[in-house]
């Protein structure tokens, strides 16, 4: 990798199976499933009334997404040994809908009374950039700030972009991650496209029948070598490479051969300076839909080559659901924890592996040497993103 080395020094996570990183990781390894009947809003005519719903996040902020983001950012900063961000630090957030739930409630009230009064704060919170602005105000960010809205690849893309800022010397520290709250629009949208499962999702299973929408937030503190040395802090992991690509194939369906996903992985490997021979674990996108898992398996099988039966591949969406803009960030936390703990998390819900899939898919947690992890996400719009995490030497 050229440029400054990128280090991970803090993690924060909040989702349906855990309100912090420790609970999340413990419950993930135990095979817990956070997919339950949806309680947030009425849904009589919905096909799948399931969701990866998290408990109410603590905090004073008006938007649920802001509260989740601030909680996880605070946890990540604490682990990195910081109360606030250092001078010049940046923020990169991946989000799909931001503060949409509150905006939805306000819009329904507007449709009833036709008045905007008292609802503007909710409407403004719908702009995804609001989460990054809330974090910037809360934690004193003065460096670059962005919100990536690449649908389901937003979190991974935000982490990649933040790494790019550090590698290029733009800043020495970035709070990077993703956050999305459950909303009628996303739950209903995936339902109407018939992409949802009526039971908890089973990524890569022969009997998989779709995805389930979840919610959550995760943030990582990323630092340059210079920033790290200044503080004499022990790093958790490195970010060795990141890659992005576009399918240009279909607006909702991934390329059937996983061509774009393979290019994103190759791009990340080129940057890392190593390939499948040094990847010890893959955290897959694995939504549980026929189309995604099929094409992703083809891309990963092509990438792993003759190591396809040696490298364990996990999708955590059977445990937490598809958390959209937060997915890549939560999966990044799982990837770093796999390196720290030297454990591969299970494919929760997996019963019988799809005959067409030759990947090694553990059904329970496994202890094994893990020096590098590839995390991959695919999104609507045909956008793909991959990040490679390494074990600090």
């Amino acid at each position: 990798m050229s440029g400054e080395k990128v280090w991970v020094t803090g993690l924060g996570c909040f989702c349906s199976i855990g309100t912090n990183t420790d609970f999340f990781w413990h419950n993930l390894l135990a095979g817990d499933c956070g997919i339950k009947p949806l309680t947030r809003f009425q849904h009589e005519d919905i096909r799948s009334p399931l969701a990866g719903e998290a408990v109410d996040p603590e905090g004073e902020h008006f938007n649920r997404a802001d509260r989740m983001a601030c909680g996880t950012a605070s946890e990540a900063l604490k682990q990195a040994g910081m109360d606030v961000l250092p001078e010049g630090a940046g923020i990169a957030v991946g989000a799909s809908v931001g503060g949409l739930p509150e905006s939805e409630d306000a819009y329904r009230a507007f449709l009833k009374d036709g008045k905007l009064n008292g609802k503007l704060r909710a409407f403004l919170g719908h702009v995804p950039a609001s989460i990054a602005d809330t974090l910037g105000n809360e934690f004193g960010a003065t460096g670059p700030r962005t919100t990536v809205v690449n649908a389901c690849a937003s979190g991974t893309t935000a982490i990649g972009l933040a790494s790019e800022w550090i590698a290029s010397g733009e800043t020495d520290c970035v709070l990077a991650g993703g956050c999305d709250a459950l909303a009628r629009l996303t739950v209903g949208g995936f339902n109407i496209l018939r992409l949802v499962s009526e039971s908890p999702p089973k990524p890569f299973d022969g009997n998989r029948s779709g995805m389930v929408v979840g919610e959550g937030s995760a943030f990582l503190v990323l630092e340059s070598e210079k920033g790290l040395q200044k503080r004499n802090h022990i790093p958790l992991a490195t970010i060795d490479g990141w890659g992005f690509s576009s399918d240009g194939y279909h607006i909702t369906a991934p390329h059937p051969e996983g061509e774009g996903a393979f290019r994103a992985i190759s791009d990340a490997c080129r940057m890392a300076g190593y390939g499948a021979e040094r990847i010890d674990h893959v955290n897959a996108h694995g939504t549980g839909t026929k189309a995604n898992d099929g094409c992703e398996a083809i891309a990963l099988q092509r990438f792993l080559g003759d190591r396809v039966r040696d490298v364990p591949v996990t999708s955590i969406k059977g445990a937490v659901g598809h958390t959209l803009g937060a997915a890549g960030a939560i999966e990044a936390v799982a990837s770093v924890m796999a390196i720290i703990d030297q454990k591969v998390p299970p494919n929760t819900g997996l019963e019988s592996i799809d005959d067409a899939v030759t990947l090694l898919l553990p059904g329970s947690a496994e202890e094994r040497p893990i020096n590098s992890v590839l995390s991959l996400n695919l999104a609507f719009g045909g956008n793909n993103a991959a990040v490679i995490f390494g074990r600090p030497s």
Binding site: Y107, R121, T146, S168, G189, S245
Partner: protein, 339 residues
């Protein structure tokens, strides 16, 4: 690494003489600056292929197609896109929410849902124009356009991409117009819509007749409540200006054209004295009366500044945009004669 602007494309409220909106003629007119409703946005793409596209996506694919004209065919498939958006896809969201409210979840129009994600316009452009480079869609409020160009500059200067389309697409629907008009007080710039795209190319890959160089780019921020402009904006703008000057190797007195934020009356009344004290001899490029205020129209300002450079009317240009919530983005443009 120095970068070059090697192409541009736009769909604006002023696009095409025949479609020019009459509403932009009067300087005092505060009406939203809208792309003419009959502007032929589907022309050349086919109505079948574009039937499900929302207006922001239609704006963007037209701007990108124009922007790609000068790129050799062999390089087109690797071109990246960094797409900015000020407010996000509000029209598809409103349409879906109304469907749920009136008819329940089963009445949601399936074809509209994919347009409710922020990267949809770039996804449509990739699909219709065969460009398969990385896509990064950013939501950055009023700075969305300049912030997108800055991210593209970073991706090209790091060597990840040879060419990257950067810009923004914004669509003003009726609900958004109503919200904006209740938010912005008297004297605020009229809101605008459209799509503006620029091609950013590395020095080694640029055509020899390229006329505009990007000599500095940055994004910075300051802690600010999410829906307010930094108050005062001066310190943040100072940081952006100083960084751009340092990157470009210029002194303040070298700059001959500048564009500063003027979205609201308060912001303008804060920025004018700042400009007087920092860049007193500099001409100000005004664009918001013609194009309207939005993140996308800032890319239009870059495009207009580039044209001034091409015509020899300016040689060193600074653009600084500010967002509510406290982020800022800046660019420095240079005439090749001065390189």
């Amino acid at each position: 690494m120095k970068l070059w602007i090697t192409g541009s494309g736009e769909v604006t409220p002023a696009s095409g003489e025949a479609f020019k909106s009459a509403r932009i003629a009067c300087e005092d007119n505060r009406e939203p600056r809208l792309v003419h409703p009959e502007y032929p946005l589907r022309e050349g793409f086919g109505s079948k292929k574009t039937r499900w596209l929302d207006r922001a996506s239609l704006f963007w694919i037209n701007a990108v197609r124009e922007c790609l004209k000068e790129i050799p065919d062999g390089r087109k498939s690797e071109v990246g896109q960094v797409l900015g958006s000020t407010w996000g896809p509000t029209k598809p969201s409103v349409e879906l929410e109304e469907a749920i409210y009136h008819g329940g979840f089963q009445s949601m129009p399936p074809a509209v849902f994919p347009n409710s994600v922020g990267n949809a316009p770039a996804g449509h452009a990739a699909l219709l124009l065969g460009i398969k480079g990385p896509v990064i869609a950013v939501s950055a409020k009023e700075s969305a356009g300049i912030a997108a160009i800055v991210e593209a500059c970073r991706l090209v200067s790091s060597g990840r991409l040879k060419d990257c389309i950067a810009g923004a697409a914004d669509h003003l629907d009726d609900f958004l117009i109503r919200v904006l008009s209740s938010l912005r007080g008297k004297g605020a710039a009229p809101p605008g819509e459209g799509a503006y795209a620029l091609m950013v190319t590395g020095a080694e890959d640029r055509p020899s007749d390229s006329t505009v160089q990007v000599s500095g780019w940055t994004t910075l921020s300051t802690p600010t409540p999410p829906h307010k402009f930094p108050d005062p904006p001066g310190p943040l703008m100072d940081d952006v200006l100083d960084r751009l000057l340092r990157q470009s190797g210029w002194r303040r007195e070298d700059v001959d054209l500048v564009t500063i934020p003027g979205d609201t009356n308060d912001l303008r009344s804060n920025c004018c004295p700042w400009l007087e004290s920092r860049l007193p001899k500099c001409e100000v490029l005004e664009f918001q009366h013609e194009l309207g205020a939005c993140g996308a129209s800032w890319v239009g300002a870059v495009s207009r500044a580039a044209k001034r450079i091409e015509r020899g009317e300016s040689s060193k240009v600074i653009l600084i945009s500010l967002s509510t919530g406290g982020s800022a983005a800046g660019l420095a443009l240079l005439s090749p004669d001065k390189v």
